[in-house]
Amino acid sequence: MSGENLQLFSVIGFFVLMMSLAGLYCLVVTRSLIRAIIGLELLIKAVTLLIIAVGYVTGRTGLTQSLVITVIVIEVVVMAMAGGLTLRIYKHNGSLDVRLLKRLKG
């Protein structure tokens, strides 16, 4: 890896870690179910950017792009399911507070 690429990767890696931290914090601290999904989405976005950066610095952009497309497809399905589940839970509890999920049995 050339010096310039290494520097670029380090910079991107730094910001990816910052964004992951924000997503993780949101996931841990929040009490709203929708905001928890937003935190998860931020984490996925950070991973996506990291994969693209790795592809760029190793010269394998084709392979990483195909991986990212897979990640995005799975991300959409997960978000659609999470949205549907959120609405179900809202109808059941009348609130999006994650603490109320303790009421669920089974």
Partner: protein, 164 residues
């Protein structure tokens, strides 16, 4: 390099705004802005196909999913908003501090990643890889999409409501 760093700073700021903002709708818009910045970064990093996917699917479709979900739930009352905003400040003020500390620690430690460069076997053509090397994965993706569609249909089925 300066342009990439500017984009990365803006992206992190948008992510921070998304997490710390009070309104869920604004958080969703912040998420779309993060996606838009990632798209520009992907173009800069020689990955146009992934960038197009990111923009159309993540900034478009997922934002629509979030906005629909938010619009189908009850908005908070004024009293709830005041109560929750006080509570939120207590829980979220630590995030910028943690990010600043982690950033300073990373800057001081200076981890130098050493990724192997596969220059002898460049895999640049996405079409060849998707339809050649990862053909089986595509069927997996199709099955995942169908499974997701069936899952959403089941979730929205009204008959199940009484059984829950």
């Amino acid at each position: 390099m300066a342009f990439v760093i500017t984009l990365l700073v803006l992206m992190t700021a948008a992510a921070l705004w998304t997490v710390m903002g009070r309104s869920l709708l604004k958080a969703t818009i912040g998420l779309a802005v993060v996606s838009a910045f990632i798209t520009i970064l992907m173009f800069k990093l020689d990955s146009p196909l992934a960038a197009v996917f990111e923009l159309s699917v993540c900034a478009g479709l997922i934002t629509v999913i979030f906005v629909s979900t938010i619009s189908l739930t009850r908005p908070l009352t004024h009293q709830d908003i005041i109560r929750l905003s006080k509570d939120r400040k207590k829980r979220y003020w630590l995030l910028p501090v943690i990010m600043a500390l982690a950033g300073a620690a990373l800057y001081l430690v200076r981890v130098s990643p050493d990724l192997p460069a596969y220059t002898s076997f460049p895999m640049k053509n996405v079409r060849d890889i998707l339809w050649g090397l990862r053909q089986l994965d595509l069927f997996g993706q199709i099955i995942i999409i169908i499974a997701g569609a069936i899952g959403v249909v089941i979730l929205f089925e009204e008959r199940i409501k009484d059984e829950w």
